[in-house]
Each structure stands twice: as C-alpha cells, then as structure tokens.
C-alpha cells in the first residue's frame, strides 16, 4: 500500500521533471552552438577587417611617406645646383622626372629661400593656397596631410641647403593605397561572410555530433527519472558527454540498488508498524477489558493469549508476585492444551496457581531483582537447574521436545518501578534482542494494567467491607439514639424518682430524729437513709450524664473524682466478681478541668473493663505524676484487644461489642474530652491477658 502510494508520487514527479526538461531544451543546444560559432566568426572577421584596414593603411601610408621623403630629399639634393645656378630648365626637368616616374606623386614644386615659386608640376596653374601650408621649421623635413579635391595628399617639404636655397615640396597621393586597403578590407568582409556561411554549416553538423549524445543523455535521464532504472544510456563518445553518460548509468545502477534497499527498509518498517499496531491493539484490548471491569484473571488471560497469538510465541505465562514476595504464582498461561493436560495429569500438579519459590540466584529472582529481561537458549536446562521437583525435570524435557520449544525469555511485569510479576515465554526460534526489548516494553505497560486490576479488586473488597461497617454503624447509631432517648427518659424518671426519694429521706430522718427506743428501728432507718442517699446519688449521676452539661472548669482532685466515679458502679463489680485495687498517689496535684466530663471518661473506661471481664478479674486503678503529667492508669485482666483493632478503638462507631452492648462512641468521646484538656490516652493490650489505659493530663 505504502509502496504503491510512493510509486504514484514518483510518476507525478516524473511528469513534472519531463515537462521542465522539455522546456529547458527548447532554445536548442545546436542553435546556441551555431550562434556562438557565427558570433565568433563575425567578431573575428570584423576585428580582422578593422585591424587589417587600420594597420595596413598606417603601414602603407608610412611607407608611402618614407618613399616620398626619400624622393623629396633626393630631389632637394639634386635641386641645389639648378637652384643656385638658376637653371630652371634642369630644375623643371627634375621635377617632372620625379612626377612621371612615381605614379603616386601628385605634384612637385620648389620655392626659393625667399618664398618665391621657382618651379612646379601643376598643369593647370599653381594653387596659391599651397604656399601657406607646410612651411618647414628648423630647416628640417616636414610632412602635412592635405585633404584635397584629388583625395588625401601628403605634402613633404624638404629644405634645400637648410632652407637657404629654398624648399622642395612633393605631394604624394594616398588615393591609390587607400583604394587598395579598402579593396582588401572588402575582400576580408566577403571572406568573413563566406566563413560565416561555411561556419554555419560546419557548426550545424558539428552541433549534431555534440547534441546527439546530449539528447541520448536527456532521454536516458528522463527514463531514469520515470523509474526505469535498468535503462542504459548508449553514448559511444569518449569525451565529457561519454563520461557523463557513464556517470548516469552508474547513478541509475546505484539508484536502483538504493531503491531496492529502501523498499526492503519500508517493508521491514511496515512489518514493524504492523507488529507495533498489533501490540497496541492488544494493549488497547487489555485496557478495554480493564475499563469494562473485567477481572484480573481475564486481563491476565488476555495477556498470555496475546503473547501467543499477537507476538507469535509458542507459549507464555504470567506469574504474579505473592503478597510476601517470596513466591511467583502462575496466574495465567497459554500453551497447547494437550501439553498442559499431560503435564497436569502426569505430575498431579495444577499449573494454575502453582507457586514457584524465588530461590536465590534463580533466573526469576534475577529478573525480579534487576528488573531486567532474561534470555536462555535452553529452556529445559534452565528448568532442570532451578527446580527441585524431579517430576517437573522429566516432564520439562518431554514438553520442550514435543513442542520443540527451545528458547525462553523472562521479562519483569512492572507497574511503575515495582515488579508485580514475571512474564515468561517459550519459542522455537531464537529471540532477538529487539524482540526482547519489545516484550519488555509490552510487559511494562501490561504490568500497569495488572496492577490496576489488582487495585480494583482490592478496592472492591474494601468497599464491600465498608458497606458492612456502615450497616453495623447505622445499627449502632440507632442504638445510641435509643440510649439517648433512654437517657432523657431516665433523667425524667430520675427527677420523678428524686421527689419520692426526698420524701422518703425526709420521713426516714424525721423518724430517726424521734427518739425511738427500738434500736432495731433506728438501725433500719439508718439503713434506709443510707440506701436513699445511694439512690439519690445514682439518680443525680444519671441526671448529670444525660444533661450533657456544659464544661465547667474547677480545681479537681483526680483521686477523689476517680473514687466518686467508682462509687457509681460497685454493683457491677460485685455481680461479676471483680476485685478493685486502688493505688492513688498521695498529694497528687490538683487539676484544672471539668469534673463531669473527666468523670465520664473514667466511667467509660471502667465500664469497658467490666465488660471485658465477664467472668471476673482484677481492676487496678493507680494515679501518679510523670513529666508534669498527672497519669491515671486503669488495668484489667479481661480478654484484651486484638492487635489489628488496637489502632481503631478510638475511631467513632468502632466496636467489637454487640449492638445491644454499646454504641462504639464511648472511647472516641473519651479521647475528645482528654485531648480538649490537653492530654492523651495510651492503650496497651494483649488478647486474653488484659488491657491498660493510661490517661495523661498536664498540670501546671
């Protein structure tokens, strides 16, 4: 799929490449070549023409001038005598001789030292203007170019006898050489044009020679670009283009091999992505299971099943850490049913929940300790080396042989940083390090799911427990409500009873005050008075307890308060056969607090002690001072409190008693009171030995 898409992109790209290359070649290499050659020929021809024109004109005119000067100087020498001897005939003859012999000589004339014209060669008269030009200075030869109606003429003036005798002028015409030079230049121009024509043809054919391989190259490049990497560009030339073609062919070859490599890579990548996707799907499945509230077993089964189906291992197990972290417990496995059946029937062991001890130096221990995967090339040997059970030894070999499983890997099942178990797999093929890594990664994520499942399980259990407790507590609450009502009722009753008791007391006192002779009656009356007083006290206490009186702080003698509280429950002690021992510290400092509330604390603890000793026992009450605390220690020899309950006895509504026996509020109220007084309560207890409550109250 992926490869196909890639191919599709390639073709699109090729089309683009092809288009652009066509565009680029439109001006034409050959055209450029021809244009270049023609330009070069043209420029060269022009330069040659101009140069030839300029140089030859210069050289020829210089030569002409030199020739003219030689002629003139000769003439000047020859003219000396005729001038001096006034031999004008000879002079004229000389002039005409020169003019007739030299075709370039346009004119000759001689003037004497005073500027008088002596002789000339002009047929139609001497032009006066000439006398004013080219007058030599310094008795030296001078040259002046004249632009005449007969063309360019060089006037050469040579003084005769340093100008004393006169000056000979010779006009040498440049017309002929100028014409020659012009003719030559024209010829050069024609040659240039001819060269351009020939050059054009030649460069066309040469261009073809060059361009053909370039086109072959272009076609080849297009073919290669189109993906036809087997295409070989055929260029026979050994020049740069040939080299380029070779380079292209080489490039195509390399491209092909690298494309193949890339395909291989992408296939591998695909495979990996597929594997990874499968893994992710597996993890997702596990997570889904978790979200759907599947049990831990279901999740573990999904893991082992996934390992054999998704990861394609031959067998897999998940072993979870026992709570004491000394065993791994096989919680799930995935292996051929037949094999496991055989194993179970032969060994009489159950694979599920089989406990594997974490022996020192065993691979499993190593995994748990190092949190690193472990690999083996011989799973049978490993089992034999680290298992005591000989039955398993024998069977392990058999199973390994039957299933052909030889290689094994163990990876830690991690939840965060904590090892919660070990995943083990067995396989026929050697497992690569990368596969182990994958497995480890998977285990790390699966471990979290397992942990989560475990926690969910615990949470469920806890909530069940909580539900039970709530039920209990609500029953206790009802009880306490009942008690509260009863208390109210009792206080009402107590009030009602208080009045008759007062009347009884009054009557009994009056009767005793009357001088009764009967001693017996007096004794009985005393007894009545005493009992009424006791009844009044009970009633008063009842009223006090139920009243929820506001705390009133006064100086309290703790010893007396204890004594007073003990008086409220003597009946119970007697009924149950409890012996009370008192060990008060004399001169105990007074404590500033609420006697009613503190009395309630002591009473509660006494009642608890009585209830803890249904078959009788000893109740020891002692007071003492320690570290600026007044300490009250109340010990019983009852059933004691279980260790696990010891921390919870001060929790509200915590009770080990039956609903009818208590509200579970007592001790929590006690702790609240003591803490409000700046103190604390300590408990020591041992089941079936007894409990000791120590109340510490600070004093100043």
């Amino acid at each position: 799929m992926g490869i196909q898409r890639l191919k599709g992109e390639n073709t699109e790209h090729d089309a683009h490449l092809d288009f652009s290359s066509n565009q680029r070649l439109k001006p034409g290499l050959r055209g450029k070549f021809i244009l270049t050659i023609l330009t070069i020929i043209f420029i060269t021809g022009m330069i040659a023409t101009v140069l030839v024109y300029a140089v030859s004109l210069r050289v020829l005119t210089t030569e002409l001038q030199d020739k003219g000067m030689v002629i003139t100087e000769n003439l000047a020498t020859n003219s000396i005598e005729p001038i001096l001897t006034e031999d004008m005939i000879s002079l004229r003859r000389y002039l005409f001789d020169v003019k007739d012999v030299e075709e370039d000589v346009s004119y000759v004339y001689v003037i004497d030292g005073k500027g008088n014209l002596l002789a000339h060669t002009f047929s139609s008269g001497f032009p006066d203007a000439l006398l004013d030009v080219n007058i030599p200075d310094n008795e030296k030869t001078s040259v002046q170019l004249l632009d005449t109606d007969e063309g360019y003429i060089r006037d050469i003036a040579v003084p005769v006898l340093d100008g004393k005798a006169g000056v000979v002028h010779l006009g040498i015409s440049e017309t002929r050489i100028r014409n020659e030079v012009f003719k030559t230049s024209k010829t050069l121009m024609y040659i240039t044009i001819l060269m351009m024509v020939i050059g054009g043809f030649l460069s066309y054919f040469l261009g073809s020679l060059v361009v053909r391989p370039v086109y072959a190259l272009k076609k080849g490049a297009a073919e290669i670009g189109r993906g036809n990497l087997d295409y070989q560009i055929k260029v026979d030339t050994t020049d740069e283009i040939g080299a380029l073609a070779d380079a292209f062919n080489e490039m195509a070859k390399k491209l092909k091999s690298s494309m193949e490599k890339t395909r291989g890579y992408s296939a591998k990548l695909e495979e990996k992505v597929e594997e990874r996707t499968k893994e992710l799907l597996l993890l997702q499945k596990i997570n889904n299971l978790l979200n759907q509230g599947a049990s831990q077993d279901e999740i573990l089964n999904a893991i082992t099943h996934g390992l054999t189906t998704v990861f394609n291992y031959d067998s897999s197990t998940v072993n979870l850490m026992s709570s004491d972290r000394k065993h791994l417990i096989c919680k799930s496995y995935s292996i051929e049913d037949k094999i496991i059946e055989k194993l179970e029937s032969l060994t009489g062991l159950r694979a599920l929940n089989y406990q594997i001890p974490l022996k020192k130096d065993s691979p499993l221990t190593m995994i748990v300790r190092t949190k690193m995967p472990f690999m083996t090339d011989d799973i049978v040997k490993l089992i034999i080396d680290h298992t005591d059970n000989e039955l398993i030894h024998a069977l392990a070999g058999t199973i390994a042989r039957v299933s052909n499983t030889k290689y094994g890997v163990g990876v830690p099942l991690l939840s965060g940083d904590r090892v919660v178990g070990v995943i083990g797999i067995g396989t026929r093929e050697k497992v690569s390090t990368k596969d182990v890594e994958r497995l480890a990664n998977f285990a790390a994520q699966a471990g979290m799911a397992v942990e989560k499942a475990q926690m969910e399980k615990q949470l469920k259990e806890y909530s069940k427990d909580l539900e039970k407790k709530v039920k209990e507590k609500s029953a206790q609450l009802i009880q306490s409500e009942k008690l509260a009502s009863l208390g109210l009722l009792a206080s009402g009753v107590a009030h009602e009873i208080n009045n008759p008791l007062a009347s009884i007391m009054l009557c009994a006192e009056r009767l005793r005050d009357k001088d009764l002779d009967s001693g017996t009656a007096k004794i009985k009356l005393d007894e009545i008075i005493t009992q009424v007083e006791i009844a009044s006290n009970i009633v008063k206490n009842l009223i006090d307890f139920s009243r929820q009186s506001k705390p009133e702080t006064t100086q309290i003698n703790i010893n007396m308060l204890i004594e007073k509280t003990l008086e409220m429950v003597p009946f119970e002690f007697r009924v149950r056969g409890i012996h009370v021992e008192k060990d008060y510290m004399a001169n105990l400092p007074e404590f500033n607090g609420d006697p009613n509330q503190l009395g309630q604390v002591f009473l509660n603890i006494f009642v608890n002690a009585i209830q803890a000793m249904p078959d009788g026992g000893n109740l020891t009450v002692s007071t003492f001072c320690e570290d600026r605390y007044i300490k009250v220690s109340i010990s019983d020899t009852g059933n004691g409190i279980r260790e696990e309950d010891l921390n919870r006895i001060f929790d509200p509504f915590f009770t080990t008693k039956k609903v009818e026996e208590g509200t579970g509020l007592g001790l929590s109220i006690c702790l609240g009171i003591v803490e409000r007084h700046g103190g604390h309560i300590e408990v020591e207890s041992k089941v079936n030995v007894g409990s000791t409550f120590t109340i510490s109250l600070p004093y100043r």
Partner: protein, 306 residues
C-alpha cells in the same frame, strides 16, 4: 549565456580600442588644388639689388656657405640687397659679366685674363691669403697611390675642373704641352668636374687617378674640413700665379665701383669684417695690378700657339 555576452562585450571593447588606436588619423588641411591658381613663375629681381656672381671655383652649395656671410656684409655696407648669382661654368659667369647682367664677380684668374682680353673686364680687388696674392695649382693623387710625379700619371685617368680654369685646367695642359703631350695622348681618359672641391672628392674617392686643383681650395678645405683632402697627397706644385680676383664689368658706374672697392679694402678694418675674413681664411682684400696675371696670359699664349 551570460559569459558569451560578456565575451562579446569584451571583444567589442577591444575592437573599439584597437580601432581608436589605429584609425587615429592626423589632421588634414583642406585644400582645393584647382582654385586660385597662378600660371606665372614669380622670379622678381629688385632693381636695387646688387648682383654679384661667383664662378664655380668651388661647387655652388660650397660657395653659398663660403660667400654668404661676405655678401651679407657687403649688402649691409652698401645698404642694398646683394644677390649671390651662381652658374655652372666659368664661361657662363663671364657671359653674365660681358652682358653686364651682374654688377661684380668672384672669378678665376684665367677667366679674368680672357674677360679682360675679350670685353675689358676690370680688376676690383684681390684677396691676400697667407700674406700672398698668389696661388698654385696642385697635382694631387690618392694618398695611398704609388704615383709620385705628374709624369707617372701617364695612361691614368685625370680630372680637370672647368675648361676656363687656370689651376684646374690651363696649368696641367701647359705642363702636358711642355712634355709635347695633350690630355688625349697622355691620359687614358679625363673629364671636367666644373669645381675644385668636386675634383678633390673625385681623387679622394679614387674615381680618378689624379687631378689638378686650386691650392687655395685645397688648403682651405685641408684646414677647415680635411675629410677629403686627408685622403689625397700633393705630388706637384706649379709655379705661383696671380690670385683669382674680384672683378667688375667694363664701364661700371665709377661711384659704385669706388664704393664697392672701398668696402672690400676696409673689411679688415672692422670687427665683423675681420671675423668674416678669418672664417674664409683671407687676410684682407687689396688692390691688384693686371700684371699679376701675366704668367697666366703667357701660358694661354703658349697653349694657343698651335
């Protein structure tokens, strides 16, 4: 492509540069050769100009150098322009004198003798050279020549100066006549150079085996510019003859004659005159008697005997 354009520009620039260098034409003066033309040759001679001829004792160009200063001096003294007139031969100068076309002339002794005889040519003054008013005819040969006497020149080539020359022609003819020889019989061949400097040059360059030259010319050249004379040697010296004089045509204006004569005679009396005289190796000018030229007359007579 950009490179190509760059190359093109470069070449164009180069071409322009080269062309500018090559086609740098010089300024031409515009002239029409067929306008304002004159057919006459202007050769005006001022009426006032004094024309003094110089016979070709030495070649015309040498004469210009030799006489120009002297003539300028005379012109200055006369307060009139003086023109130096030259002709190729003594005869032509004598003709100018005869026709009174010139006002005075420096001529050869023999030319004077002939002119005096034929048309009454008058002596004006004569130069004094080396305190003498005489001169000689030298017979010269190339310096390395085996010839040591005039006689040894028999069958050789020889150069005369002018037919009318005394030292350059008459003297050797006289010498030959005394030997009963003529140039035709004595020399293999001979020719006229029409001036003494040319004869010296001809001997020095070994164009001829020998020549007769004016002693004044040879001595002058030998002291001022011995280029040629050093290549020659003198093998015969003639007897002395009257020095070539300055003459005026017969019947000249006596006032002019007197004035001109005085200028020459006074030359050595002023600074500039002495300077000029010194340059031409002349001590001074003096009046001279016709008798000084009798020896020349005698030779002429002797020569024209036959």
């Amino acid at each position: 492509m950009n490179k190509l354009i760059l190359l093109g520009l470069l070449i164009t620039a180069l071409t322009a540069l080269i062309s500018a260098g090559c086609l740098d034409t010089e300024n031409a003066v515009k002239i029409d050769l067929h306008e304002n033309t004159t057919t006459d040759i202007m050769f005006p001679v001022d009426e006032d100009t004094v024309q003094i001829a110089v016979a070709s004792i030495i070649s015309p160009e040498e004469s210009v150098g030799y006489y120009q200063e002297l003539f300028d001096y005379v012109s200055e003294k006369l307060k009139r322009p003086v023109k130096l007139v030259q002709r190729k031969t003594y005869f032509e100068v004598n003709e100018l004198l005869r026709l009174k076309r010139v006002d005075a002339a420096f001529i050869c002794s023999r030319a004077y003798v002939e002119g005096n005889d034929q048309f009454g040519l008058e002596l004006l003054v004569a130069p004094v050279v080396s305190n003498k008013t005489v001169y000689y005819s030298y017979v010269i040969v190339p310096r390395d020549s085996d010839i040591n006497s005039f006689e040894e020149l028999r069958g050789k080539s020889y150069a005369f100066t002018d037919p009318m020359s005394n030292s350059g022609h008459l003297v050797p003819i006289y010498m030959l006549a005394r030997m009963n020889e003529t140039p035709d019989t004595f020399f293999k061949h001979y020719f006229f150079t029409y001036s003494h400097d040319k004869s010296i040059e001809a001997v020095a360059e070994k164009l001829v085996d020998g020549a007769s030259v004016d002693s004044l010319i040879w001595d002058y050249q030998n002291s001022t510019n011995p280029g040629y004379t050093s290549k020659t040697k003198i093998i015969e010296i003639s007897p002395p003859y009257g020095i070539p004089p300055v003459v005026i045509p017969a019947g000249s204006d006596p006032e002019f004659k007197r004035e001109l004569e005085q200028i020459f005679l006074d030359m050595d009396k002023d600074e500039r005159g002495r300077e000029i005289l010194k340059n031409i190796k002349v001590d001074k000018f003096v009046k001279i008697n016709d008798s000084a030229y009798d020896t020349v007359r005698e030779m002429e007579r002797w020569e024209s005997r036959d």
